[in-house]
Symmetry: C2
Subunit: 534 residues, 2 copies
């Protein structure tokens, strides 16, 4: 009786991880109560995002907190560690996670480990995307997109320059799969409805563009439903660019493959997702960046280690096909892994995983959707009604169901919210990317950033009274510019333009002053730099 | 007819500014439509916060966005500039504000200027407050407090060290006026209700402390109501420390005048508010840090300049007393200034400002409040009912009224939300304060920050196997420590303790790597520093 309890540790707070905990709580109720089994779940956030409703956060038709469910409420008998996993040691059966308020790392031992870490957004290899494209995966992403959209409307309302206005009022979404289509539909509805509250913005000036690699959107569904979705979106004002790939981004444009560019301040990319770096570091057999598992979801060679959800390469036991990375599958995989862990603890036989998806649905904004359910194609209002009914039923937690149902009811009568929720500004350092020829700042501009060249080359230009610009000098990696405006509060004394593709580091005024006032060697360096450039 | 329109520019998006715009829109309807008058309002945020309901954001009993109203919806005929005012030039009649996406400053000319900039939170002279105390004035503050509260519960749930646990579960609010009392009441209700969802947190471990300078809380009300409020709060578990002043803070304690300290990770200070620095820079006659105005709310010597709200020193025309900084007064002052601007435009006589407050109310959390209305004292449930009814009626915008009424209804049946809404982490630089003797980090800790001493002195200590610590060196202003852990990923190699009161600058791993990998002189400096300390 004084034996140590068996510890089952789950990594990841998405559908895979949470449903594994939830199912284990039910299956091992007695063992948990007796203290024979201990459940732990490590999640970066203390809530689970209900992904299908995330696009509605953009328009505020669902309250910000209502698409997410606190994990503690769903799994009351699981120890929740709201931490980021830092490393996994399969040989010593331990997991370490980041420190909280203090500075001590957390180490957790396990007997059974369930990997449910999902995949990550990865913009590697596409210049400027990491800096300027908005991802669309987490709740924070949806909020950031909502705020960006309102900010561009705010700016457009008082902007005089027609070119800047056009870029401000252009919104680009890359990726015509479920997530891109649902995002563009909500974004389009929201921005057009919100524009009515801006005195100087004409609804007709707004451009919403969907960039899609294929010939028909929603490749997950039969082509006829994709075509239906296209017609609806286009009727509502969305421009679709077919067979087009996003190649990169600058602060004010989406760069397309082939050299085309769309001037915009709001670029959303739902396309790229890469393997989780934590998973990639493990000494495990991988398949397409995902952990290979046997038919019972166990990881070969490491007894007690399991994997489910988007981070696992799971082949359906009946069809032999790789399971798609959807919530439906993750939920069923979680239930299967929970049963197999119980079977292992009790010395019973494990079962192989097999699941036939019930259907697929995609929302198209106000009162329209497309769905394929049990092989049946449904579109328009009926599909939309099904979408709402099914997802409301699937949303975990009764209180969330009530809240979302209320939100949807209010949304029928109230105007969309246009409040811009700014978060606290931290003195910061950020990366930026500039195309060859792109101006980084102009003489006379107000200066808020110091720049350090990381890669590439820039040219410093000084204008004369006639508007003619003379090159003063060229700067390369490790050299900096823009320091005078930060030290003296005067406007920019010269124009700086990228000569080649250039990556810079930008340091804002507050971080600059904090750092450079304190560190004497730095102060000396900048004082002499400013002296020589005077 | 080709004459330039008269420009009325209002600075500030609080009650004073927004109600001035709103009243002018009504009074000058014809002039605005004809293009004779142009209204402009500059506000840092695109919404107005309904302050009385702000405390309810802590507990989530009102949705995050529902206590705030988009200014554009309230004042559809005013040009809204969502910018921060940077300077006011009274001689050239122009105002400049920060740049938005681009880098160009915005300049606005005016014929009439209404100063409604309010006051600001100011922690000057109290060490550590700027770094660690949470203010409670803006929507962002309420959200930050809500998140901090949930974070401490999350941490306490998995913390083993009893001393750290105790600090995590202690919540301190400084200031027993309306805003402090309402904040402590909501915070207390929320944290005690939320604790039920945390497996390893016992409700009885929670301490909520109100620190108040006087002998009775709510000095704005008759003492009997303050006493009623005290009894209610204490019955609900709030500890009140009377005749106590907050003197400073460290990361893990509230420092009281006289040398006492309360170990806590959550310190809210509602006390200090200073004059707005923009107002302080103006060449105007001031009274207690506020702009002196004549009885018609005009600023002497500068025709066309007016001031209302918390930034103005307004004497009531009947009583001669200084008007208190409340929303009730700001609203009435705004209506008066709008009428007087209209009178000036039309060459009519201006009126002097006088207003007798209707009453004062303070909410005490679930189903209790205190109020003094038309001289009548009311407390308990009736006061709470009055509070909700009156404020719901005063909340601007019909859609907000509906949303808040719905929130309140749902709140009767649903549990409080415990979702922690993290915002994007920016690579950062922050200031920190340490008391003499306080440990900054310990040998073996996980290192995430590099520190630079700004003021004071620290001591580096190395422990031996017996636990004995030997001082290695002392470091003063401009010197840095903690760099090895950031460069090498190893735990801290020594303990660092503050010798005197020490202000440091902390640079996080990401900012450190971004900066120091790029700037060659810095890299050289740190490489040689690490070499000498090896």
């Amino acid at each position: 009786m004084s034996q140590r309890p068996t510890r089952i540790l789950i990594l990841g707070g998405g559908f895979g991880g949470v449903y594994t905990a939830l199912t284990l709580e039910k299956l091992l109720k007695r063992e948990i109560r007796r203290g024979d089994v201990e459940l732990g779940l490590v999640s970066r956030e203390n809530y689970m995002v209900f992904q299908p409703m995330l696009p509605e956060v953009i328009s505020g038709s669902i309250g910000i907190l209502d698409t997410i469910t606190p994990i503690r409420r769903l799994c009351p008998n699981t120890n929740l560690y709201t931490r980021t996993v830092e490393s996994i040691d399969l040989n010593h059966r331990s997991v370490s996670s980041t420190a909280g308020f203090g500075s001590r790392q957390h180490h957790l031992h396990y007997d059974h480990l369930v990997l449910a870490l999902g995949n990550v957004t990865s913009f590697a290899g596409q210049p400027g995307l990491a800096e300027y494209a908005l991802p669309f995966k987490y709740l924070g992403d949806a909020l950031a997109l909502r705020n960006r959209t309102i900010q561009t409307l705010e700016e457009a309302d008082i902007e005089q320059d027609p070119e800047i206005r056009r870029a401000l009022l252009t919104f680009v979404v890359a990726g015509g799969g479920f997530s891109g289509v649902e995002a563009v539909a909500e974004l389009n509805d929201f921005v057009r409805a919100a524009a009515a509250s801006f005195r100087n913005v004409d609804r007709r000036e707004i451009r919403v563009v969907l960039v899609h690699a294929g010939r028909v959107i929603l490749p997950e569904l039969p082509a006829s439903l994709g075509q239906f979705a296209q017609t609806i979106l286009m009727k509502r004002g969305v421009e679709i660019r077919f067979e087009t790939l996003l190649a990169g981004a600058t602060a004010d444009a989406a760069l397309l493959q082939g050299g085309d560019r769309i001037a915009t301040r709001t670029l959303v990319s739902t396309v790229p997702s890469g393997p989780n770096p934590l998973i990639a570091m493990l000494p495990l057999k991988m398949e397409r960046g995902r952990v290979a598992v046997d038919p019972t979801l166990a990881v070969p060679d490491y007894p007690g280690v399991w994997a489910v959800g988007d981070c696992a390469a799971i082949r359906d036991a009946k069809t032999g096909e790789l399971c798609p990375p959807t919530a439906q599958h993750a939920t069923r995989e979680a239930q299967c892994v929970a049963r197999n862990i119980m079977a292992t603890l009790r010395g019973e036989a494990r079962r192989a995983f097999s699941f036939q998806a019930l259907g697929k649905m995609g929302a198209l904004g106000r009162r329209s959707a497309v769905a394929e359910i049990f092989g049946l194609k449904v579109s328009g209002f009926l599909a939309w009604w099904l979408w709402r009914t099914i997802y409301l039923a699937k949303l975990p937690g009764l209180d969330r169901k009530i809240r979302v149902a209320t939100d949807w009811t209010l949304d029928l009568v109230l105007k969309p919210d246009i409040v811009q929720l700014k978060t606290e500004r931290v003195p910061g350092v950020r990366r930026e990317y500039f195309e060859p020829g792109q101006v980084i700042f102009r003489e006379g501009d107000h200066g808020e950033w110091l720049y350090v060249v990381r890669e590439g080359e820039v040219e410093v230009l000084k204008g004369d009274a006639a508007g003619q610009e003379t090159p003063l000098r060229r700067l390369g990696p490790g050299e900096c510019f823009g320091e005078i405006a930060l030290v003296s509060d005067r406007p920019r004394s010269a124009t700086v333009r990228a000569v080649s593709a250039t990556n810079v580091l930008a340091v804002d005024r507050e971080a600059f002053q904090a750092l450079f006032a304190t560190l004497p060697p730095l102060r000396g360096f900048f004082e002499s730099l400013i002296e020589t450039r005077r």
